[in-house]
């Protein structure tokens, strides 16, 4: 299993390098100017992900199985609130030690995106994060045998036990939006158990959400497939709405080409093409008023404008 873990981590790191290889070479030594993104125009995003690695691992390691789900919510410029949960079991059958154990778990934490956002539609991320985790473990009665070559063997039964495990973890990984709203990505995790005493009499060989129960620290990876839901924030400033005071009336233009910033164009693209990004009916602007501020000043009430959330 250790060898498999090593291979898969190396594979994930290799995959992580592909987007970097795909970038165009800069024309000169000057770094390209990075477009400034107005975060107030970002829609809300709630993403649900399923860990695909655990079912695959369960087909190879017969005595244990686990399932993990993840939900993350973009709540601030580069921050995501994360909730993860799942369940699993182990059926440990050996001549000297035999028992079954199952558990559910919950992890809560945050992820911070380290990747600069290129546009309003850019939801790819490379992130680091932290979690607090807890598992609710139900271990059945265990049969054990001790062997001493001089004195002989002893057998006994350890009674069933229900207890809770707590740990903290650090994590990192990436997510890539391969088609609209559909993500793939991976996490690597280092976990550190906090309550060792609860695991002292018989730690389960596998605790879903944590790993090997008889280790004080564990390492794990996940491969996620996710789907994102997006919607507009309540009271969100739209790309076509501007304050009359902040936008002076322009001189009449001989040409009727509207002047739209890149971010506004991106948001328009989202609104017109993304079925999950439905504008709030209460805030929708009548069709005859959907004109560029560069060509006509709308007579809707001014909305306070903030440049960014931070």
């Amino acid at each position: 299993m250790i060898r498999l873990t090593r291979y898969i981590v190396l594979l994930m790191l290799a995959l992580a390098a592909f987007p970097a290889l795909a970038q165009d070479e800069p024309a000169d030594d000057e770094p390209p100017a990075r477009p400034k993104v107005d975060y107030t125009l970002l829609p809300r995003q709630l993403r649900f992900s399923l860990d695909m690695s655990k079912p695959v691992a369960a087909t190879m390691v017969k005595d244990r199985r686990g399932y993990e789900l993840m939900a993350d919510y973009h709540f601030r410029k580069d921050l995501y609130a994360v909730a993860e949960g799942g369940w699993g079991s182990v059926d440990y059958r050996y001549p000297d030690l035999s028992y079954a154990s199952s558990n559910g778990f919950l992890r809560l934490g945050i992820d911070k995106n380290m990747l600069p956002r290129l546009s309003l539609t850019d939801w790819d991320m490379v992130f680091v994060g932290a979690r607090y985790g807890m598992a609710f473990i139900n271990r059945g009665a265990a049969t054990y045998t001790t062997t001493d070559s001089l004195w002989g063997t002893t057998t006994g039964v350890m009674p069933a036990k229900t207890f809770t495990g707590h740990w903290i973890e650090v994590t990192g990984g990436m997510r890539v939006e391969i088609v609209r709203s559909l993500f793939v990505g991976w996490n690597i995790r280092g976990r550190f158990r906090m309550n060792h005493k609860a695991f002292s009499d018989l730690a389960p060989a596998y605790v879903a959400g944590y790993g090997k129960g008889d280790r004080k620290s564990t390492f794990d990876f996940n491969f996620y497939l996710g789907y994102a839901l997006r919607w507009k924030k309540a009271g969100q400033r739209t790309a076509v709405t501007a304050s009359p005071e902040s936008v002076p009336l322009p001189a009449p233009q001989p040409q009727s080409t509207p002047v739209v910033s890149p971010d506004e164009a991106a948001l328009d693209a989202i609104q017109t093409s993304d079925p999950v990004f439905a504008p709030d009916p209460a805030e929708s602007v009548p069709e005859e008023r959907q004109l560029s501020p560069a060509t006509e000043t709308p007579d809707v009430p001014p909305v306070p404008s903030s440049e960014s959330e931070q």
Binding site: V61, L97, D148, L202, A203
Partner: protein, 169 residues
């Protein structure tokens, strides 16, 4: 995705459901240290090397003889996990069969979980250790006295649990 699936298929044979190996001693031992009075008077003692030691469990389930241990100043024995008492006899020199003693250990067993790879074992808390030459009908005592140095027998390395003081030959 196709690349990942292919790689996992290639790795499939390398991921058997093998149990982790047990990489630590399972059975713990009581360490005896052999000492002798340094002089006819005074309370100073020195290690004594038993010339040709013979040491056996008295009432083990199987015949088990450890003989010909030369120059031993320390020796590890195992307590019985089947009961709370066990006996060993020590003969410092195998060429003097009448000069041997029995050590009797009284202790409390404590079941201890090592890991899922190693399973369970017993640790012990020594209650008393006594010596006698009468169990085997011996009349000449080689051992003067025994003293418990550390009651906890838990596999911790480097600890001496029982000091065995021999008469001067």
């Amino acid at each position: 995705m196709a690349l990942l699936a292919g790689t996992l298929c290639l790795l499939l044979p390398s991921c058997d459901a093998e149990r982790d190996p047990c990489l630590q001693p399972v059975n713990v031992a009581v360490r005896l240290q052999f000492l002798q009075r340094a002089a006819d008077t005074g309370n100073s003692f020195r290690d004594t090397a038993l010339p040709n030691m013979l040491i056996n469990p008295v009432d083990g389930p199987e015949t088990y003889t450890i003989a010909g241990v030369k120059g031993a100043t320390r020796y590890d024995i195992r307590l019985s996990p089947l009961s709370d008492v066990c006996r060993w006899y020590i003969q410092p020199d195998s060429s003097h069969p009448g000069r041997r003693d029995t050590l009797t250990f009284l202790y409390e067993r404590r079941l201890h979980f090592i890991s899922n790879a190693c399973g369970y074992t017993y640790y012990y808390a020594l209650g008393a250790v006594s010596t006698s030459g009468r169990v085997l009908g011996d009349t000449i005592h080689a051992i003067d006295s025994v003293v418990i140095a550390d009651r906890d027998v838990n596999g911790q390395a480097g600890k001496v649990h029982v000091n065995v003081y021999f008469h001067k030959p």
